[in-house]
């Protein structure tokens, strides 16, 4: 057989890539769905405990974070529009603001978690074992759910940083922007999950 090298033809299917992202979002929703189920079961069972424990959280910080994420969802959508309108500079600024908002969110989370840790309130701590059943479950779920969510924020930030570099190097442009579009979709998902976490954890008192 003679030299016969066949490369994969460049296969481009933006609609397919977007469909893939939507499917991935379904998976993510069901991943959190399991946690929401456990949350509902135990909140029903330990209603008063959940109520008391939620008073430990700062609604102010939670509200600031909610605003930060909602705002970032808007900016990432604007970034996509900017790319479509060939306004590279604006797109970069908008992705930058999104990343900044994500950093603000994580910083606040750090403050919140840090204060809890400082009080000796974390999974596996001695203090935790002294609490009532419903309190333990509430705080465990709090750390579990916000922790998993924060992990998603970090993944989203990595994804958007890659997008930012690609916008800068013109690899994401008016003709091909599906990566940014998917990144934005993912970011909206992260936002959406927080929209549920915020009332369920902070506003039930």
């Amino acid at each position: 057989m003679s030299e016969h090298v066949v490369h994969h033809e460049e296969h481009r299917d933006d609609a397919g890539a977007k469909l893939g992202m939507w499917l991935f979002i379904f998976t993510e929703l069901l991943l959190f769905g399991g946690l929401f189920l456990v949350y509902s079961v135990y909140r029903l069972q330990y209603h008063d405990n959940f109520h008391e424990a939620s008073l430990e959280l700062s609604v102010t910080i939670g509200a600031i974070n909610t605003i930060a994420l909602l705002f970032s969802s808007m900016t990432i959508a604007m970034a996509l529009s900017a790319v479509q309108k060939e306004n590279k500079k604006l797109a970069l600024i908008m992705i930058g603001i999104t990343l900044l908002m994500a950093a603000v969110f994580l910083f606040n989370k750090y403050i919140e978690w840090g204060a809890k840790f400082h009080h000796g309130l974390y999974p596996g701590s001695e203090l935790m074992t002294l609490l009532e059943r419903g309190h333990i479950l509430y705080f465990s779920l709090y750390f579990f759910m916000t922790g998993l969510h924060a992990l998603h924020i970090i993944i989203g930030m990595i994804l958007l940083t890659i997008c930012m570099v690609k916008v800068k190097t013109n690899k994401i442009n008016k003709e091909r922007f599906v990566l940014l579009e998917n990144g934005a979709l993912y970011w909206h998902l992260v936002d959406l999950i927080w929209i549920f976490l915020f009332p369920l954890l902070y506003l039930i008192s």
Partner: protein
Amino acid sequence: MSNGVGKVEYVSYFDTKSKYTGIMSWLTTMDHKRISLMYMYCISAFFLVGVVLGLLMKVEHLAPGETIMKAQTYNGVFTVHGIIMIFMVVIPGLSAVFGNFFLPILIGGKDVSFPKLNLFSWYLYVTGSILAVASQFLKAGPPDTGWTFYAPYSANTGTSVIIATTAAFILGFSSILTGLNFIVTVHRMRAPGMKLFSMPLFPWSLYATAWIQLLATPVVGITLVMLIAERLFKIGFFDPALGGDPILFQHLFWIYSHPAVYVMILPAMGVISEIIPTFCQRKIYGYKAIAMSSLAIAGVGFLVWGHHMYTSGMSENARWFFSLLTFVVAVPSAIKVFNWILTMYKGSIDIKPPFVYAVIFIFLFIIGGTTGLLLGSVATNVQVHDTAFVVAHFHYIIFGGMGFAFFAAIHYWLPKMYGRMYNLKRANWAAGIMFVGFNILYFPQFIIGIQGMPRRYFDYPVEFQPAQIFSSIGGFILATGLIIMIANLVKGARKGELAPNNPWGGSTLEWTLPSPPSLLNFDEEPVINENPYDYK
């Protein structure tokens, strides 16, 4: 790539040159066909490990009391047997191997939608498998919870449960990504003219399966992570000693794990729907009914998980409700069996090995399915719950169903995959021996199960000994048949006669390609028939 020179020279996917040579050309490949073979080699290896563990249990059961292993060892062996067979063999089995190879070809596509993701799924599969196998050899000892990881025991036992559940989580992730890839592939990679209802039935079953993989697997994923957190931090999600609810774990576990049995069996049904029309040279009976019943099974399959838990504490209303739905989900399966048999009616049946395996599938699947109804109705379930009857039932479904469908598929498609043919006579002999061995192995377990032999016990009262010995002998007959079959297939794939492009007279697209196919499958645009089974 059209440069006006005309036809592309045919090079099989084995000989296609890439950046790397040798093993690296496989480990870096994005060709769905090569990835399929890599899955097949891994899965076959793990299957053999599982078989050896199964045989060890049968040897242990030759006599009451300790025969060759201690009770704790037995607990480890059945757990590892379960984890390997379920998570590493049966769940990925048909979709990762034959789905990967034939889904794109059957719909006239050049590859799956996301080839890189496909390779990534394989690496996840290998990582998960290595962890699962490693959990057997770690100092803490093999997990002894059974593959179901029921809490609270799994939260407290000193064995390597964390590694095993992490493995299951990663394997689940691999399964999700394969499912995602297949759904997009079905929607986006069909050749022009290939409508959804022109697709052969194997792609239809893979499509239904993929939705289950996508939507059910994350639930067990998060459950296993919660279990890990429970072990690490003593949270008390599931452990009643800490105020948790073990039934909640069972619910979360079966919300995935019951749909997972359809991940196992749906592609098997798809394979059979391909084989029957080819060897009867007859249009499949009730094409749309079979296609839609796959979706129906996938849909209703989400709502029946409670039938695993009749005895573990559920309200009477929940029990009859789950029981009713269990009977409902049996209907589409029965529709398929009915349609396969009607396809054979007045067909010109050609009894070749793939057809023999397919018929064995139908036979064993009917036994497995009807005993499943016995388990699905609350009153009888309470009698036989957690007995050898259940073991027999799900081995009839999983091994007799999915296992034999896998054997049928490999006999059907091996000439296409390797371009070589195995010895047909030996394949039939192997099928016969395995069929006899299988029934001798598992049928007695229905009987001793009804008589009260619990599952997962290494010991038993002496009156069960004759049946146990009978069953063990069956195990060795089955293994003998298996060895003959594998030897025949390996020899065929390596040194068999060259296979023609269409050895069985099939009408689906894979048979229009050279054996083995080229890298991009279709060097020319495929011609699509409105009806994939275009015989008469």
